[in-house]
């Protein structure tokens, strides 16, 4: 069986080396003997919800974000149907903002988003930049999420939306609430890029397990030797603690 990884608009949404996330998911699947199909959806193409086991949405340059927003809105029904079918979605940075209702820039002008999650983003006057450390509860266990954030947007979650995690060091959604990202079932939004999957293998494996499940495969993944990943995660966590406490 083949795990089908779909990156949305990688030609525009890869500002923070988002293809690293695709690479990590694919490799961790291959190392477990699974076949992998990379099927990016490019601008002008339609997402077929029946052909995805996991969907990745990255971040883009401001200039391209409006272009992508329009395209993503047109794909919202397909995305909704995939999500309802249990396909996990990881949306990072600009992609995270696009999950919401709108992005309001500094002049007050609003760009609509795909409206998949009840949240909205308002541009702040400064950028929130630096190494970041977040505590995440997922699958009944606590995890450290480490990486880098760089965003001007302040994201506010709707009343029924859970954050992905709580900020230990760094700014998170808005720099004040202590919340980071969003999670609704298998849809995860986050400002942590890095790309984030290389240093957070537990998250990569959770997405893979969900993808396997969607594909009718066993979600019990064989353990890998993550010594290098854990060393990098520990070093990054230390940087975040020292810099941003």
């Amino acid at each position: 069986m083949t795990i089908r990884i779909v990156a949305l608009y990688p030609e525009l949404l890869s500002i923070y080396a988002d293809r690293g996330n695709v690479r990590v998911l694919a490799q961790r699947a291959r190392w477990r003997g699974l076949d992998v199909a990379l099927a990016p959806v490019r601008l002008g193409e339609a997402l077929d919800p029946a052909t995805a086991d996991v969907i990745l949405i990255g971040g883009g340059q401001d200039r391209d974000q409006a272009l992508v927003a329009e395209a993503l809105i047109s794909q919202a029904p397909a995305l909704r149907s995939a999500i309802a079918d249990g396909v996990p979605v990881l949306a990072v940075c600009g992609g995270y903002q696009l999950l919401g209702h709108r992005y309001v820039d500094q002049s007050g002008a609003a760009t609509p988003g795909a409206g998949l999650v009840d949240l909205e983003t308002i541009a702040g006057s400064d950028r929130l930049i630096g190494n970041v450390l977040v505590r995440v509860e997922l699958g009944g266990a606590e995890h450290d999420l480490v990486g880098f954030e760089n965003h001007a947007g302040r994201t506010l979650l709707g009343a029924g939306v859970q954050p992905f995690g709580r900020v230990e060091a760094g700014a998170g959604n808005d720099g004040v609430s202590g919340l980071e990202g969003c999670r609704v079932e298998r849809v995860i939004g986050t400002y942590v890029h890095g790309p984030l999957l290389p240093k957070n293998p537990w998250l990569a494996d959770q997405l893979l397990a969900w993808a396997c499940e969607h594909n009718g495969l066993s979600p019990d993944l064989q353990a890998l030797d993550d010594t290098l990943e854990l060393a990098a995660a520990a070093a990054a966590a230390e940087l975040a603690r020292v810099e941003r406490r």
């Binding site: 030609e11 690293g20 340059q61 200039r63 880098f148 290389p198 990098a232």
Partner: protein, 457 residues
């Protein structure tokens, strides 16, 4: 020269002398700061003392090498005034101009991309050579677009007598020449050295005029190549100065046939890689505008050796060590492409720091094509403050764990790699800016290289 300018120059020079005396390093910006405080509009009269004019060189990648090449070509006929690579903002340019010797007759100034409009406005250059605009790890939020639009404004108000030397292979740069009269375009024209496909992460994918994605007949590096917009409103301009029949000979060098308005000749560089072909084209085209025949410039370039950390080659205990600076994915990819033919049985040191000058965010290593970059390599050492991130990156690039070592200290990692190499072996060091600086300082203390500011100026 007005009394105010003369006084400002004296003060700037005294400041420079003082900072050298106190051993605070090269003193490459403070004197300029002092100068501009005393004479805020003093850059123009300063630059006007260069009787044969000033050439400005800017680009994301390659401006230091291009400026060094141009200065070395012009150096045979002129006393050249040149700034060091670390001093390419307004204060650095002011320092350079205020402290230049009286004999200096022509200026070759490397200029930071963001500072170019202000400096070009102030010094009335004879020519401006523009190489490329890449997003690098320091500005990943639309600043490339901002720089491009400021460059457009600059070109729009440029006097007709200022010549633009433009890299036609970069769509944004090519388009700058659309309405200017005096333009010389250079580029590569050789399908044999093109990449099989364009990198997904490359910049400037969409037409500067209508927004449609460009179609590339050839891609040379990053987003540089022979492109056209499907709607027909923009394609690469005709090349006035072109490199054809390019032969890449690993780290040993590069040869190509130069076709220029004044004839054809062969250029042999001691520098590897297509990006040095672009740098050489920029230097030769600029020298041509300044009166040097292209064949003469080509001849002079054949002796040109690398600047700080840009394919510098040094001997350490009989081993050949090659130092390569890497600061963004495109530069790194091109460096890897250049060493690939010779990397078998070599030692490689990859040094990644995350200080401000390197970029705090190390995400960009995931945009470097490490996959299949090291066939037959004997050992790879990841080092620097973010060594662990590099090691993870290499694991996902399918690098054999048995060849991989990790250690944070750059100098120890370097020494171990040299020791591990056979007596007549080769060691490649790819390092980010501050890691290269640290290593260079130690190598210079050991008498193996010249100090950075000597090497760069």
């Amino acid at each position: 020269m007005s009394a105010r300018i003369a006084a400002a120059i004296r003060l700037a020079r005294a400041t420079g002398a003082l900072s050298r005396l106190t051993g605070r390093g090269g003193g490459t910006t403070l004197p300029g700061h002092v100068f501009l405080r005393v004479a805020p509009n003093g850059l123009r009269p300063l630059a006007a003392r260069l009787t044969d004019g000033v050439a400005l060189v800017s680009a994301t990648n390659g401006k230091t090498t291009t400026a060094a090449m141009l200065a070395s070509v012009l150096g045979a006929d002129h006393a050249v005034c040149r700034n060091s690579s670390g001093a390419n903002l307004v204060t650095g340019i002011a320092t350079t101009l205020a402290s230049m010797p009286a004999a200096a007759s022509i200026g070759v100034l490397e200029v930071d991309e963001a500072a170019l409009p202000r400096i070009a406005g102030a010094v009335a250059p004879r020519l401006i050579a523009l190489g490329n605009l890449y997003r690098d790890q320091l500005d990943r939020h639309g600043e490339l677009e901002m720089v491009a639009s400021r460059w457009r404004e600059l070109v729009a108000r440029l006097p007709a007598e200022t010549t633009l030397v433009l890299c036609a292979d970069d769509p944004v740069i090519d388009d700058l020449g659309r309405k200017h009269g005096a333009v010389l375009r250079y580029g590569i024209d050789d399908p044999a050295v093109a990449l099989p496909h364009r990198d997904e992460s490359a910049d400037s994918t969409h037409c500067v005029r209508c927004g449609q994605p460009y179609v590339y007949a050839q891609v040379y590096l990053g987003h540089l190549g022979a492109y056209r917009c499907p709607s027909g409103d923009h394609q690469r301009g005709a090349l006035d100065v072109a490199a054809r029949d390019v032969r890449l000979d690993g780290v040993r060098g590069t040869t190509f046939r130069l076709e220029a308005p004044d004839g054809t000749c062969t250029v042999s560089l001691r520098l590897p890689g297509l990006y040095n072909v672009e740098n050489a084209l920029a230097a030769i085209a600029s020298a041509y505008v300044l009166g040097v025949p292209t064949a003469v410039a080509a001849e002079r370039l054949s002796a040109f050796a690398a600047a700080f950390g840009r394919f510098e080659r040094i001997a350490v205990d009989g081993r050949e060590v090659v130092l390569l600076l890497f600061k963004n994915p495109t530069g790194a990819n091109e460096a890897l492409r250049a060493i690939r033919p010779d990397v078998a049985s070599a030692q490689v040191v990859l040094a990644l720091n995350d200080r401000i000058a390197d970029g705090r965010d190390v995400s960009w290593i995931w945009d470097i094509d490490f996959e299949e970059a090291f066939p037959g390599v004997a050992g790879i050492t990841c080092t620097g403050s973010r060594a662990a991130d590099l090691a993870v990156r290499l694991r996902y690039a399918d690098v054999e764990p048995s060849v991989l070592t990790t250690g944070a200290n750059v100098v120890s990692a370097f020494d171990c790699a040299v020791e591990a190499a056979p007596a007549d072996g080769r060691v490649y060091v790819l390092a980010t800016y501050t890691a290269m600086l640290d290593l260079h300082r130690v190598l210079s203390d050991r008498g193996l290289t010249r100090p950075f500011w000597d090497a760069a100026s």
